[in-house]
Symmetry: C2
Subunit: 220 residues, 2 copies
């Protein structure tokens, strides 16, 4: 694999981009990180993802792969020498894909309502966000990771959102731990994995980014 050239087109605060970063990190893949300015996207991004024009894009030996969960599954299939993310059993694979899809369908939209809205809309967002996390906490059950004894596909899909928890809690004025203590314990376990924590954005930087965005919304 020494000859592999891997480039990641990404945006620092993106929980979707972070999924690719985490997967590459746990697989020990070296890559070139390229930060995109989303208001002035690079020609490479526009050419690599002409359909959605979104980050993240993983470019492996010149060939682009788009959409974060598809990228993670691609990484898992190409670099299959260590840290398998999806289980080998078809039923367990289907279950992992189901929960990753659930996170995609629910977490971003609910989280966004928490930090960008006010009043009733924000309360509804918080309710939806907490219900989503509780559902995930219930799926986690007593297992150390969603992947069972080891960090897996659903763990990758969800852990990147934890970098936003401080922002959701501060701007939404609520405590996630109060509602979902076991999920917060799971976050801690994930962060103890060095490759995972190194690949994640810093919660304080996410918060600064969110505050800057909010003041821009307010000015518009």
């Amino acid at each position: 694999m020494a000859a592999d050239k891997v480039i990641l087109l990404d945006f620092y605060p993106s929980m979707f981009g972070m999924r690719a970063r985490v997967a590459l990190a746990v697989k020990g893949v070296e890559y070139e990180y390229r930060e995109e300015d989303l208001r002035n996207k690079s020609q490479l991004l526009l050419e690599s993802n002409p359909v959605h024009k979104k980050i993240p894009v993983l470019i492996h030996n010149g060939k682009p792969v788009c959409e974060s969960l598809i990228i993670v599954e691609y990484i898992d299939e190409v670099w299959d020498h260590k840290s398998p993310l999806l289980p080998s059993d078809p039923y367990l694979r289907a279950q992992a894909r189901f929960w990753a899809d659930y996170i995609d369908k629910k977490m971003y939209a609910a989280g966004r309502k928490v930090w960008t809205t006010q009043g009733e809309e924000q309360e509804a967002g918080k309710k939806e966000f907490v219900e989503t996390l509780k559902q995930l906490e219930s799926e986690l059950g007593e297992k150390p990771f969603f992947g069972g004894d080891s960090f897996g596909f659903v763990d990758v899909a969800l852990i990147t959102f934890s970098t936003w928890f401080h922002t959701y809690e501060t701007l939404g004025n609520f405590s996630i731990k109060e509602h979902c203590p076991k999920l917060i314990e799971w976050v801690k376990r994930c962060l103890e994995i060095g490759d995972v924590s190194k690949a994640l954005a810093e919660p304080n930087k996410i918060y600064d980014f969110a505050l800057a965005r909010k003041s821009k919304f307010a000015a518009q």
Copy 2:
């Protein structure tokens, strides 16, 4: 595989349910089809898909798999003796997953606007619908199938929508063939595969269903 017990909880006009029917058909898997009354869902459906409470659900030897593309991928992995749906190369697999995801994100919502709305909203829906199909036609290119020389994952994901084309065209007063002639040729090629055409709903029955739904909307 003779001892396998396979049940599909489904709803006849559903393009998502039809994906499971098509995948099971091309794999030659025998199964019990159970039509759901979506206004009075069975206890089995509610227990098998407690998160979304939606069809289709594939129950394989008592274990439920939910979400249509996840079901198709599961079927492809379990019954891997014939008609592979996803290619074996990781990059081609990622591409197939990308286009199936694109269909999921775009087709249903655009199609729904075409047949349930009027006036400007309907025109916008038609525009979006045609643009989506043109994008897919461009991806198909000169290949016989999205899967290349053989019917594959993206073909399964999209062909089920063709059973609704008559409804979209009649209620939207436009011709899909006029905009996307090569895609209509692709539909014909898919329908020549006996196992595929047998598994699809009849366009006239879909139309009757849509008309009944529309008159119910109007009465509300």
